[in-house]
Subunit: 223 residues, 2 copies
Amino acid sequence: MTTQPLSPTARSTVRRGRRRSVADRETLYSILDVGLVCQLSLVLDGSPVVLPTCYGRVADTLYLHGSTGAASLRALAGGAEACVAVTLLDGVVYARSVFHHSVNYRSAVIHGTPVLVEDPVTKLEGLRAVTERLAPGSWEHARSPTPRELAATAVLALDLTEAAVKVRAAPPGDDEEDVAAGSRWAGVLPLHQRWGDPEPCPLLPEGSEVPAHVRGRGGQPLG
Amino acid sequence: MTTQPLSPTARSTVRRGRRRSVADRETLYSILDVGLVCQLSLVLDGSPVVLPTCYGRVADTLYLHGSTGAASLRALAGGAEACVAVTLLDGVVYARSVFHHSVNYRSAVIHGTPVLVEDPVTKLEGLRAVTERLAPGSWEHARSPTPRELAATAVLALDLTEAAVKVRAAPPGDDEEDVAAGSRWAGVLPLHQRWGDPEPCPLLPEGSEVPAHVRGRGGQPLG
């Protein structure tokens, strides 16, 4: 599979920490396909707003969804620009100096103007992607959306063309003199995300078994 | 300790999912004091931008820092508005219907205009808060910032007055008919964050011991 390099527009060009910049599309996909929540920012009434929300990806499209009544969704459906971040925090970097303390992370930031999805087939595809990112297997297992539920839900499609990807996965980057002094500890404390055990809804019929698509995820690391 | 309720301005009033809204300041603090990375959004050249970054809190002030050369920091130092989100994802809510799938989370969203910290004492206090949020104990253990490092670092203070806090920590909220049908599984799959074992820098002198402030965090849950 060939992929296009990420877009080199002015605003998606990494300026701070250039050496952390990653220009391949596969890394972008890999971040989006592990994250569960993105941070959606837009301008509302002249002010910046950032909102955590779920998302899904199909090829080079990021899908977002929300209530048709939400001010943010309405603004975006009306053509407002968006910026979306997905951040995976992998650890804290303890350096010998306060100045070089840092974090190990995988970060994707996408710029673009989302488009309201009107085609019913594409809308279902978008909702499926959002659902399956969050809860793989749920699209088949759970009750499908009714026409009324679909009418209350807006789906937006954001093209993944313009994106900036940064990855830090390294030991501390201390100054030579601090390394030579050898008097202070430095290293990485990794941070792991792991699924716990399923907590069945108290309203389930007695004896309900946890289905395989949930049971199989329990106890596993995220990603 | 008495605390002021959170600000009820139009943009910090939770409109979607009102029942998830939490109006006490202690919950805001508890979210900020567990999170490690925030999402900082602002308007740059007319477009929304969101950037993951570290932060620290002292009383009712959130401190942010960055290179004096970063475009985002320069814009904020020049008076641009910001919106900052800290999101803790606690689990995926598997509902009986696709429509009611959700996440359990703790979310803080802060609106305001950060102020560049010029006073040297306050600047150090801000940097200390950022460092200690990320790596408790490092401010004492690691080498302190030099005048040159301080000059290269901008610190911004954001007042926590105007904030919206939402918490979901509940089983699925399915429709009655779906619950009555009893044919589909529903519940919560919790997501946990935990520190791993310290990974010492390969450049440390042989026999360097992991100090207590790092060792004690290893293996512990986040928060």
